[in-house]
């Protein structure tokens, strides 16, 4: 039992940090530009695939370096030549464009790499146990993912709060017109933020893709959860994203291993047999519906408090 709790918590925290790496960019972009980028998780996927290709031909660590940079460049191009074009048509068009982009990225990946997962694996020298819990080895790579995410958070935080660039970015987020009036190149800032956001997602993909499956569906799978994180945490709030990511990460991790059900609960009051006979909703286990809960959470947040945990009332 204790083992389960410890391992689940560790896994949950790592998964949560991974989610944060991907959602950090999205929440920054939304907070600043009001654009909800459906293609954001595609950057995650592209990062994984680019890293895979570079790893195959050169080296894993080079891949980790190259992937985020290339993805950031793709992000900049997307913002400059595509998003900016439809900006004047309104938010609905932006949503549609990013939606279409996500579609296209998935198909392009399938074109070049096929429909099935590719064998992007961590290098052998990282394949060891960080420590042992109750006779089971805990893989170092999971810790590595967490470390990269933490490093990223610290770097972002320092960048935004301590540097001039960060100041300009934050100003542009609050009052873009004012920032522009003060002769800051706001379109450049937007482009930069979009690029950095994409690059972060790319880094997350490059790191995580070596551990989790790398397939054309990974953008879709992660993408919607990332939306949940961003909404629950509060659109535009980095701290909120972190909290929400950890919450959802830990929850998912625990829920997958728990067979609790309403019938089980009711058996405490002697109605277990009846509930099991009724079936349906009563016999659904937490592990099987664990996928539903994040969406339920997002739904509740959207309906009750759209600003999320730490976002600003918009």
């Amino acid at each position: 039992m204790l083992e389960f709790i410890l391992v689940s918590t560790l896994n949950g925290v790592v998964y949560g940090l991974l989610l944060f790496m991907v959602s950090a960019g999205l929440t920054l972009i939304f907070g600043m530009m009001g654009v909800l980028n459906f293609a954001h998780a595609s950057f995650y996927m592209l990062g994984a695939y680019i890293a895979y290709t570079v790893t195959r031909h050169i080296d894993f660590w080079v891949g980790l370096l190259v992937a985020p940079v290339l993805v950031a460049m793709i992000g900049v191009l997307v913002e400059r030549y595509l998003l900016r074009r439809v900006h004047s048509h309104g938010h609905a068009h932006e949503l549609l464009l990013t939606f279409g982009l996500a579609f296209i990225f998935e198909e392009l990946v399938k074109l070049f790499y096929g429909d099935f997962p590719v064998n992007y694996a961590m290098p052998d020298h990282l394949r060891f146990a960080a420590f042992t819990i109750f006779d089971a080895d805990y893989p170092f790579y999971r810790v590595f993912i967490g470390l990269v995410a933490i490093a990223m958070f610290v770097a972002l935080y320092l960048l935004l709060s301590r540097t001039r660039v960060g100041l300009v970015v934050r100003a542009a987020e609050r009052l873009p017109v004012m920032a522009e009036a003060l002769s800051h190149n706001v379109p450049l800032v937007f482009m930069g933020v979009f690029g950095v956001g994409a690059g972060l997602a790319g880094l997350a993909g490059a790191v995580a893709g070596a551990f989790f499956p790398t397939n054309p569906n990974m953008a879709l799978e992660l993408g919607i959860i990332v939306f949940v994180v961003v909404v629950v945490g509060g659109l535009g709030s980095l701290a909120g994203s972190l909290v929400a990511s950890l919450m959802i990460g830990v929850f998912s991790s625990f829920a997958v291993g728990l067979d609790w059900s309403l019938a089980g609960l009711l058996s405490y009051v002697g109605l277990g047999e009846w509930a099991r006979a009724v079936g349906g909703l009563f016999t659904l286990t937490l592990s099987s519906i664990s996928g539903t809960v994040p969406y339920l959470l997002m739904l509740i947040v959207l309906l009750v408090r759209p600003a999320g945990l730490m976002g600003e009332r918009n």
């Binding site: 909800l36 595509l82 074009r85 439809v86 048509h89 938010h91 609905a92 068009h93 949503l95 549609l96 464009l97 939606f99 279409g100 982009l101 579609f103 296209i104 198909e107 392009l108 399938k110 074109l111 070049f112 790499y113 096929g114 879709l220 919607i224 939306f227 949940v228 909404v231 079936g279 349906g280 909703l281 659904l284 286990t285 099987s288 519906i289 996928g291 539903t292 969406y295 339920l296 997002m298 739904l299 959207l302 309906l303 759209p306």
Partner: protein, 424 residues
């Protein structure tokens, strides 16, 4: 516009829809059924976005719910001995769509814009995540399958019978949806889209109005799903996938959401396109995505919008003079399309598992590959020069003719505006 001209397109379409299918083979008849269903789904979707101004990313929820409702009825008839007229089965889809739509719409329409879109997405995803685990309602991962039972002397075993029943339902549904646009509620829906705040200050309960529009849209989406289940005799949780919501979005916007028949046009084109192209190339979804992006970027009102603009300004467009630029633009588009298709198909061939196997046989060299009935050398300059040249020529022509077309159009618009101005 004279009465004959107004009803001619519709009459032609009806003639084709009624008269053509018996002449087609079963596979194509099936495609026609899917075309009708897709057209209905898209038009139902457009009630929400094109008319009501509410963008939903989860319409698959009602589509799927409608399908499952019909499946349950089919099962009840087939195995449970329920006596229910087979032709009325799709109605169950509509009712299911209405009930679920009313419930979810009440909550979803509390929010608007991006938040609304996310709520609809969350609802569909919840169903998608829940369904494979809920055996009773959704048949778990395998889904539910059954069989259509004969009724009223008709077997309903043949595709052509299913087709005509689907046609009947779709025609009725389109009739109702079109009539809706003529009712006071239909006009209110447009006001909702244009300026919901003003509507509030003119004495209308905006939330209630939105719920009604949402529910109606869900009802017809459920009907479409019900027709699908009726045709396929099976339904599973994959009907709730975001790809389904994406498809209807694609159809609606490429066809044009500002015109009543726009989404239907988009649905017809894409469904037939998928069928025809899907057999030829594996990259057909990529093509769909590219077309969609191009439409969003350059033709925001879709095909329907373009057609109606031409119709609206038909007396002002200088047809003689615009003929040549249009022909050049069409040629340019053809060239660019050919170039893009060639490049994409070449890449697809080079990266396919089949080519990899072929490479193995020549010691990991780069053997020639076959496409479009020709053999190409992967590293030959000619292979890549051909599409490149086609593409560049096409682009060049397009850029040159763009200004001409734009000028002629502003001429047409000015002429129309001058006519609209009241006499001094």
């Amino acid at each position: 516009m004279t009465l004959v001209w107004r009803f001619l397109p519709l009459t032609l379409v009806m003639v084709v829809l009624i008269g053509l299918p018996p002449l087609l083979d079963v596979g194509l008849q099936n495609v026609m059924v899917n075309v009708l269903i897709a057209a209905l789904f898209a038009t139902a979707f457009n009630l929400l976005i094109g008319q009501g101004g509410m963008l939903s990313f989860g319409h698959a929820a009602f589509y799927g719910v409608g399908a499952f409702a019909v499946m349950h009825l089919l099962v009840a008839i087939e195995r449970g001995g329920l006596d229910f007229p087979t032709p009325l089965l799709p109605l169950a889809g509509a009712v299911a769509g209405m009930v679920v739509g009313l419930f979810t719409g009440y909550f979803a329409t509390i929010r608007s814009g991006v938040y609304f879109a996310l709520v609809t997405l969350a609802l569909a995803e919840m169903l998608h995540a829940l369904a494979p685990h809920w055996e009773g309602l959704f048949g778990g991962e395998a889904g539910i399958s059954s069989m259509r039972m004969p009724w009223g002397g008709i077997n309903f075993g043949q595709v052509i019978e299913v087709y005509y029943l689907t046609l009947a339902w779709v025609v009725i549904a389109f009739g109702l949806l079109y009539a809706y646009t003529r009712t006071p509620m239909g006009r209110l829906t447009l006001a909702l889209r244009d300026n919901e705040e003003r509507l509030r200050f003119m004495g209308y309960n905006v939330h209630a109005t939105k719920v009604v529009v949402f529910t109606l849209s869900a009802t017809f989406a459920g009907l479409a799903g019900g027709l699908l289940a009726f045709s396929n005799e099976q339904a599973n949780y994959q009907l709730f996938e975001v790809h389904i919501s994406a498809q209807v979005l694609l159809h609606t916007f490429v066809g044009g959401s500002t015109v009543f028949f726009g989404p239907a046009i988009g649905a017809v084109i894409f469904t037939i396109f998928a069928h025809v192209i899907g057999d030829i190339t594996r990259s057909w979804m990529l093509y769909q995505g590219v077309i969609f992006i191009l439409v969003v970027l350059f033709v925001p009102h879709g095909i329907g919008g373009v057609l109606t603009e031409h119709l609206r300004l038909r007396t002002h467009i200088p047809w003689r003079r615009i003929g040549r630029p249009y022909a050049i633009a069409a040629t340019a588009a053809l060239l660019i399309t050919a170039a893009s298709v060639m490049i994409i198909e070449f890449l697809e061939a080079l990266f396919s598992p089949r080519y990899f196997a072929a490479r193995r046989q020549v010691d990991m060299g780069f053997p020639p590959f076959e496409r479009f009935g020709y053999v190409w050398e992967p590293f030959s300059v000619l292979t890549w020069l051909l599409p490149l040249v086609l593409g560049i020529v096409g682009l060049f022509l397009l850029l040159r003719v763009r200004h001409q077309v734009a000028e002629l159009w502003s001429e047409a618009r000015e002429s129309a505006a001058a006519q609209g101005r009241p006499a001094p």
